[in-house]
Each structure stands twice: as structure tokens, then as C-alpha cells.
Amino acid sequence: MSLRGNDLLSLREMSPEDMELVLSTARSLKEILSRPIKKVPTLRGKVVCTLFYEPSTRTKTSFELAARYMSADAVSFSSASSSVKKGESLADTARNLTMMGIDLAIMRHSVSGSCHFLAKVLDIPVVNAGDGMNEHPTQALLDIFTILDYKSRIRGLKVAIIGDILHSRVARSNIFGLTKMGAEVCVAGPSTLLPPDIERLGVKAYTRPEEAIEGADVVYVLRLQLERQAKSLFPSKREYRDFFGIDRHRLSYAKDDAIVMHPGPMNRGVEITTDIADSPRSVILDQVTSGVAVRMAILYLILGGWD
């Protein structure tokens, strides 16, 4: 129970035991989501605050619902309509919010390492909901949870992560999480979107998606982060689709029972074709449900709602 009272900042720094604990707790909490009355009193009286310095629909809603299903109160702070516009620093904003009595802060931010910084500023636990190009640990935990739903194990599976590895916090967290749990991870994308020394993280890197997908159990398609493409890292969306997008042909290199994943939001017709995204092999919507269960588990384990 070492998560209690602690931050959850990255899977790089998380032990496999803690990851297993989150996953098994999420497994038992997931059942709540199918009840007619989706509410348990476990975290009654606790308040969590989401601080989103970057736009998000899925993750923010997922955390807030997770809190509410556990009877915690969820308040949100968004940078678009706040004192940030007036020039307030993150440290000041966060300390002010905690003085109102919140028990846990969940932050998304465009700068890598910001959640580590927030954790130094605050005494209450901090959960990383995505920091820059660094990590998105709860996303990777829900991805692993979803893979377990279909494959019942992680060890020995081949997972191919395809796309913009360079800018992807989802890729980083999945690489750390999946390799710790014994998966064989391959990444592929245009060479301009592969970060340096990526293979030293224990993965194999390819510049052609087919090579990474060959024999894969899981094909994980990353969102092409058009908003982070400052430079000419690839010529056009059209060319990206033609050479790196996941379509029926590229997917045929995977195992016959391979599943297809995507963290959302999808650029349909760019990194993934609609027929694949909506095919029976796609577990993209299952990931969304898993996300709520995993976040319920995380809030439960950190806020120590058990007696």
C-alpha cells in the first residue's frame, strides 16, 4: 500500500509492484461502473482538484467521474478562465487552491517535469495527468489494464507503438510501464519523430511501421500531435498517412488476433483509417472505460479511503 499519500508522477519511477496494485484494484472497482447506481461512499469528504493547463476532454472528465463515483468532490481549475491569464505563477495558484482544503491535485501541463515541480511546491499528493512530452502515467496504466482484458498477460507480448514517439508522453509512459512488466516493445515512426537513444529504454526502434508491427499482439497507434509540430518534421499529413498511417494492409503484418489501441483523440484518415478504428479489433472505446476504473483505483489508493 505504498501509494498512500504519495504522488503519482511517472511510470519511470513507479515500481512494478505498485503498478500491479493499481491494476488489481481497478479490476475490482470496475464493477461499480456497471451498477445502476454508480456511487460508493469510499472517498466521501475528500476533495480532488483538476488543474488543466492544456486542453483535455477525456482525461479531465475521466478523473472527475472517477472521483465522483467514489463520492469524492471534484473541482476543476482551467487556465483559460483563471488567474493564469493575470500572470499568476503555478506555485502561487496551486498553493492558493490547497489553502481551500483540497486533498489531491491532478495536473495536466504543457511543460515536461511540471508535475514534479508541483509536487515540490505542494504537501498534498500530485497525480500527473500528462506533462509535456514527458509522461502520462494514468493513460499507460489504463492501456495496460485494457491489454490485460484481452490478453490476460503482459509478459512476452509484443507491443508495437506507431507514430510520433518524439512528442508523445503516452509513448514514454507505455514504454516504461510495458517493459517493466515484461512486454517486448517496438516503436516505429518517421526518423524525425523518433527521439535520440530511444533503444536505450529497452525497445526496438524502426523507421518503417511494418517492421515493428510484424508479429505484434498489440498495435498502439499514437495521435499525430499536429499542435506540437513546430518544425518541418514531415512534409504533409497526406504523406504521413501514406507511409506511417495504420490501415488494413499495415495491420496485416500483426498477429491475426492483434488488438488496435489509440489514446485519443484520433485524427481519422491520418494516423489511423476509419475502418480500422471502428473494426472489431479496435479496443479504443474499451480504453476509455478502463480509464475511469484505473483512475478510481489511483484515487482510492492514494487518498487512503480504506480503513
Binding site: 505563477s89 515536461s112 509535456g132 527521439p195 535520440p196 537513444d197
Partner: protein
Amino acid sequence: MAKDLLIKGGRVIDPSSRTDQVLDVLVVDGKIADLSENIEPENAATTVLDATRKIVMPGFIDMHVHLREPGFEHKEDIESGTRAAAKGGFTAVACMPNTEPACDSDTVVTGILEKARKRACVRVYPIGAVTKGRAGKELAEMGEMRAAGAVAFSDDGSPVATAEILRCALEYLKSFDAVLIEHPEDLSLSAGGQINYGLVSTVSGLRGIPRESEEVAVARDLLIARLTGGRLHFAHISTKGAVDLIRQAKARGINVTCEVTPHHLILTDEMVLETAYDTSTKVNPPLRTQEDVDALRDALADGTIDAIATDHAPHHIDEKWVEYDYADFGISGLETAVSLIIDRLVLPGIISWMKMAELMSYNPARILGVPGGTLKPGAPGDITIIDPDCEYSILPHNFESKGKNSPFVGWRVIGAPYGTVVGGKAVMYDRRLI
């Protein structure tokens, strides 16, 4: 009339005469008068400093500091910055022109010198901008600045923008006998970068600055130095590739020198992860890898690197206690440099005491063309006294500098600046400012 000063019983190390023996040093009228065994004070008015078991060297000259005045006095000013220098064992500092306004005219040079005359406790040598407003478009009035007291020229903080303007500047400076100090960085390669490009940038998700950003610039500048035959000095070299290029250039007779900072000689980018993104590790050029650190140390030994300079870059805590990308680049270095060099390079035997004096005193004086860097009779009475045995912890909140931004916080080190003598007057002794 300054009182005479006698420093007794110290181990005198002077690269200009290759002296290394226990001697007394007498300073009369602000100038070195005598180095001998057992000098007796000539009269009761002579100030006597005991330097038993201490090391006495020509005054250290930090040829690369940011005093931030005018314009950024909340980060540092001439008074606080020179107090930091004195505390850190430096008898002189050369201050970079990236102030507001930029030091790009004789008026600003004169203003800095005038303020220094009133407030500074060590010598201050202004460095003028190469181009107006450091904008890289038109040459600044370097001749007028030289006449007003600027010792060198640089657009530091930025590289000299184009090869052509660098070419013009190096040619033009031949009339004024001053060195051009270049901050080598290809901005198109470093844009948006926060730390060294490599494994650590991949793991941390921080944008990388490739080593080639520095090396492309060094290569360009060396070719322009060859073309013009001008006097070029590279600031804060940080990569193995840059060192290799400079070594080759020197072997081919190109008129070039370079400096390195203590932090690039000691730290690696791994520290970004070890400190969980502490912004005290954010500096430009960024902390590199062990391979680079090793190459820089080799280059000290073989003479490729001429000087150690701190690139003292103080910042206010409000500019560092923020998200990594939003933090300013820079390390407050004046009050840690001497101890770090002793603890990490001299005591482990990587460089000798003599070499340290060369790198921190003799060579900076020679490169800048300023007095000092020697204990020969007639030279300015600028002396640094070192306690090689003093063991202590680096605590930035005790810094004289307004900039407490140091990645060395809490480090236990052996060796400390013990006394700083400027023009025959002790401004720091027994580790305390006077």
C-alpha cells in the same frame, strides 16, 4: 596612500615565473614589491596577513560574468556581484554586455566603470557588445568603447549573428587590439531546447539542444578567424566535438583561445533527472554527458582550453521557481568555482595547482590584455589566497550574490578561497569580506 601589505608564510604559486615555494609577498603602493623568504614588515603600519598552510596565487580573473547592471538589478548589481567575486576569491571580473540597455556604447561602458569605482570591491572590466543592441545587424562603436575602457567585445547570450558580421568585427577589431569573445551556438539547432539532446532529453521529455548546435558555430567561427586572422575567444565550450575542432585549429596556427565553466567540467545532464527537473540544472550551453566532461578535462591538461570562467549568471528565485521550460538559463557561479575546481580537479590530481593558477589568473589576464595574472614585482597587488584544507558545505543562501541559483547546493567540498587582495588591499580574508 595604501598601506603596505605583507602576506607571510604561504606557498606561493606563480605561473609567470614557474614559482612554487613558501615565500612572503610584499605589496607596496598597490603593486607587488618583493617575493622572498622571511620578509619583515618595514613599519608598524604594514598590514600582515598570515598565510601559513595557505596557497598564494596571482589574483583570479573571472573573464565571464553577468553583473546584470544596468537593467536587471533584481538579479544582481555591480556591488553584489563584486562582493560575490571577492568572496569567491576573484580579484577581477569581466562583465558581459547583455544588460538593458545593452553595453553597446561608450556611455554605458563609462556608466559601468563609474558605478564600479563607487561600489565594486574588485576590478570590473566591461565587455562591450559587438553589434548595436546585440542585434547582429550593425557593428557597435567598438573603438569608442575600447577608449572608454571596454577590454573585449561579445554579443554573449547570443552568438554574433552571421558569418559576415563576425568577419567585419574581427577585421575591425585589429585596429583596437581587443579580443572578440564568441558565444558559439547555432540558434536554428538549439531553438526551444532546454537540456542536452540525448538519452536524458528522451527520458525526461525535455526538448534537446544537440551538441552540434555548439560545434556548427565553432566550426563557422574558426573558419572566419582563419579568414581574418582576428583574435577570437570562445566562451563556455561544452562538448567533445568543439574541443576537437579548437585543438585542430590551434595546431594549424589559428589565433584562437577558449574557456570552460566549472559546471561543464563537473556535472552531466543526468543531474536533471537526479534532481527531478530542478531548474538550477538549466544552463546554456546545457550540461552535457560524461564523454564531454572527460574530453573537457583532457583539454585542460593538453592546453586546448586556456581558461576557466564561471559564466556567473545570477537569477531571481521568481525566475527559477517555475516550470522547467519557463525558467531562465544560468548558474550563479562566482562563489563556488574555486572550491569546486580544487575539490573536483586539483585534489584528485586532474590538474596541478600551477595549472589552476594558469587557467584562472595568468591566461585570463593574457587573453583579455589586462594587468595582473602574475606576482612579478611591479605587477598589480592582486592576490588570491587559498585554504586547501577547509572543508565545508555549499549553501547558496549564504551567497553574497543575489543569485542563489546553484546546482551545487549542499555539496561537501574541500578547499576554499581564503583571502582576496585587490591593489594591495585585502577585500576578503579568513573567508570573510572586509
